[in-house]
Each structure stands twice: as structure tokens, then as C-alpha cells.
Amino acid sequence: MSAVYEPIGADDHPALNTDGRQLLYDLVSIPSVSGEEAEAAAQLAAFFEANGRETFIDDVGNVHAPGDDTVLLTSHIDTVPGDIPVEIKEGTDGPELWGRGSVDATGPLASMAVAAVKTGASFIGVVGEETSSRGARYVVETRNEPDAVINGEPSGWDGITLGYRGYVAGTYVATSESGHTSRPDPNAIQHAIAWWNRVEETFDPDEWMPVFEQVTTKPVGFDGGVSSDGLSMEAIVDVQLRVPPNRTIDEVRELADAQLETGTVNWKEPIPPVMTNPRTPLARAFRVAIRGEEGDPRLLRKTGTSDMNLFAAEWNCPMVTYGPGNSDLDHAPDEHLPLADFDKAVNVLITVCERMGVGQ
């Protein structure tokens, strides 16, 4: 006998008139900042159990609902920080759910949970996407490859994302002997600035080329000054490089390293770029399903990174990223999702699973 799903965020609002909308509201109501996903994970697992699906939570906190591996539906449970009051407001196209995660990516997550229950497709809610992607990394290390993957992130209910740039982050560290600042010799901070200027020149932006096809550079942290013992000058710079599919992580890292004259860079675990084909059966099923909901399908490639990069690095099956919501609202203080878009995304996902042969 199935367990009973207990809504935790019920406010008797008339717009919460489907199981899916209620699940979405509940999951958005539970804070689930990266590293603190356990309560939301338990609620998600309860939804599957109430619908007769076996579930388990793995060693890193991912929620699994094993099913028909013709399609694996997977999205992330965690959100970035941000306290946005959870409420339903009347928008231009009907009721909207406001709250952290409504777009990135609890909307995609809940729509996939509903579609998985309706069709029997496999499902995994992963943790830690907004930080280290530890959930997705664990999945590809421990799970067999499915026949197709639909990764959840906001593409808009009428769009699918086919590609993401890769990402590599590093920390530059240099030291120099301390000395009077009237001396002409460059100190560690000057070495750091000079290195970074050379890296930026190496990957000089081309205004005529799409950003997706370029390496872009971004310093994200800078620390330095005289060391605590007063004997040396230090400089520490945290940097990020975004890598297009036509370049490799190794190539980009080597070009940045080649600009070093003083100091070293400690590179962190990279995320490779991904670009999938719009002619796969999976992408085709999405176009048909979106048109079936009277949408005009959009094909997207994104300049950021998602867990699809990690899935594509290990698995060769067709994959796309999909989910309701305007990605301009990712991490934003006015994050909100029209509930009509959520409903359409559920319908699109169900149609796609059925066209791919889930349950047959």
C-alpha cells in the first residue's frame, strides 16, 4: 500500500489544484541551499512513495526513483541562498509562484517528478549542483548509463538546451620578498596583475563571435599584501575560465599557464563543455511535444554550465536540458514561475517520455 503524501506548504490557495503544483509549492517552501537538501529530499521521496514508486536516498543525498531507463529524468534539489517569501501572486498570464528555486531548478525538478510518476520513467533528484555538482558526479560514478537523459534546468517550457560551455577555475599564488615600496622591482601583487592581464589578452573577446564560441575570463577573488611575519609580499587571485566546445580544457589551461612568469596556478576539477545534436530522437520528440502544446520550439546553447556537462562526459546517450522558467530569473531576487508554464512543461515531458517509448 502506498504512503500518503502530506503537503507541508498547504495554504489552501485555489491555484494549487494539481498534485504537481502542490509538490512544486512544497519543495519551494522548504529551504534547500546546497549542502542542506535533506528535508526537501525527504519530501520529494515521499511524493514518489505516495505514488507507488520505490525510492532510496544514496550516500551523498540524491533521491532515486528507479524506473524505465529508456529515459532518465534528473534535476537538482539544491538552490542558491536567498530568502524570497514563498507566495502565489496573480501575474499577467495567471498565478505565479514566487520563491527561491521556483525557476532554478525546483520548477524543472517538480515537473520531472510528476512526469516520472505518470510515465514510469527513471528519476534522480541530485544535490550540490550549485556548488561542486557532487550529486551528479556520484551518479555518473555509480550508475549505469540510461538510454537517454533529460536534465532539468530552466530553458523555458518551449525551449530545449543542447549545449553548455565548460568551466575551469584556478587559484594563482605568488610571493615576493618584502621591501620598501619605493623600490622599482615588481612585487607579488604586480606579478599577479601582470599575469592576469596577459591571460585576458590571450583570450581577447571577439565582438563578432558568439560568446558561446569563445573562452571568457573572469577574476572572482583577490587577496594580498605583506605576510603576517612581515618578511614577504603575497598575492592570491581566484579566476574562472569558460571553455567553448571547440576548445579543450587542457588547451585553455595550458595557454593560461604559459603566461606565468612568477607564481603558480592551482587548477581545480574542471567541467568539460558539451554540445548535443538537434537531430537526435530525443530532441525531435521535444519539438513535437512543444508544438503539441501550441509552442514554437526554441533551441538553446548556454554560456554557463550544468550537470549535463558531467553526464555527457561519461555517457554517450542522447541528452538535452529542459525545464519551465525564465533563466533570466536564475539566482535573482524576483525569482518566480508562472504555474501555467509549469503545467505545460509537465505535459511536454510526459509526451516526450511516451514518444521515446517509456513504458512500452
Partner: protein
């Protein structure tokens, strides 16, 4: 084998029998990418172009 007209250049296209909705085909004359909107009868339209977007 059925035929349809390229919406881009007007050339006649010979379509294979197991055409599927959502399929993308190329016009052999102008090179345009065309999407099969319907199969009976065949309806073609320009395939969506790849757009660039920010973020995740």
C-alpha cells in the same frame, strides 16, 4: 517517396517514406535546415535556429 516544397527556396524535395514529425532535413538545393511539422501530408517549416542564452 513523397515530395514537398522547400519553404526557403521553393525547390522540390523528395522525402523518404518513414518521415517522422520533428525530423530535421536539409534542402539539397539551398542547404536550408527544414523541420517536418506534419507527415500526412508532409508539411515543412524552417527548423529553429540555435539561440544563445546565459546561465545554466
Amino acid at each position: 517517396m513523397t515530395e514537398a516544397e522547400c519553404v526557403e527556396c521553393g525547390a522540390e524535395l523528395s522525402l523518404h517514406d518513414d518521415l517522422e514529425a520533428g525530423e530535421i532535413i536539409d534542402c539539397g538545393t539551398c542547404g536550408a535546415e527544414l523541420e517536418v511539422i506534419d507527415t500526412e501530408p508532409p508539411v515543412l517549416d524552417r527548423a529553429p535556429e540555435l539561440e544563445e542564452d546565459w546561465g545554466e
